[in-house]
């Protein structure tokens, strides 16, 4: 198992009720599995999950990206800069 730290930003911080969480996954689990675990643990995130992107090590990644020890994830709700 690996523990992936996940950061929440902007509105996702409010929806999760915290700034970060560590998620335990099997080594090589896909980002889609990380999304599923986050949705189960934080129901308010679940309904918004389709609008949010995942970043790993500060880059946007697709749902089939495999996760390994040392990866750092972040949930990126729709951005509103500018």
């Amino acid at each position: 198992m690996i523990a992936i730290p996940v950061l929440f930003f902007g509105p996702s911080k409010d929806w999760a009720g915290q700034e970060s969480v560590a998620v335990e996954l099997a080594d090589g689990a896909a980002v889609a599995q990380l999304r599923a675990v986050l949705g189960e643990r934080f129901p308010k995130l679940a309904e918004r999950m389709p609008t949010m992107r995942l970043a790993v090590n500060e880059e946007f990644v697709p749902d089939d990206r495999r996760l390994h020890g040392g990866d750092r994830a972040a949930l990126i709700p729709p951005v509103s800069g500018g």
Partner: protein
């Protein structure tokens, strides 16, 4: 060799310095500077907008700003690009973002600057809250809330 400057600042943006960064090369005949300014708005229930509160995923936002600035170099032939975004509280009438682009000619400079602000608003991890007169606070929902992963 193209020159790029990106930054996130917690105070007022030194707009003339952003403009100066892209200036000074007589081969570059088109300079476009875009300023995004907090618009005065009012909500029927909550009164006048007092300010916007911006926050960022700092390291990733800097990386994405650098990434899109370099893409503007590749796609539009921009020779100098500066993007500076303000974080924290920004009151109506104050500038929250400045983008300056210098190219050989005006057409590419306009295109690159327009593409940069559109891409920033879609892909750079920065968020803002509306803070109203009566204390009501809400996250700004972007017009296009569905964000597919592109490229």
């Amino acid at each position: 060799m193209a020159e790029v400057w990106v930054d996130l600042l917690s105070g007022p943006i030194p707009i003339s310095r952003v403009r100066e960064f892209v200036g000074g090369d007589p081969a570059l005949g088109g300079i476009v500077v875009f300023e995004g300014v907090t618009r005065a708005e009012a909500d029927p229930q909550h009164g006048a907008l007092q300010r916007l509160d911006y926050e960022a995923y700092d390291a990733m936002a800097r990386g994405r700003l650098e990434g899109i600035a370099k893409q503007a170099v590749d796609r539009f032939g921009a020779k100098r690009v500066a993007i500076v975004h303000r974080l924290g509280s920004v009151r109506p009438g104050e500038t929250s973002v400045v983008i300056a682009v210098a190219c050989g000619h005006r057409a590419e400079a306009f295109d690159a600057c327009r593409w940069l602000i559109d891409t920033l608003k879609r892909d750079v991890p920065i968020w803002k809250k509306d803070v109203f007169e009566d204390g009501f606070v809400r996250w700004v929902e972007p017009d296009n809330a569905h964000c597919p992963l592109d490229e």
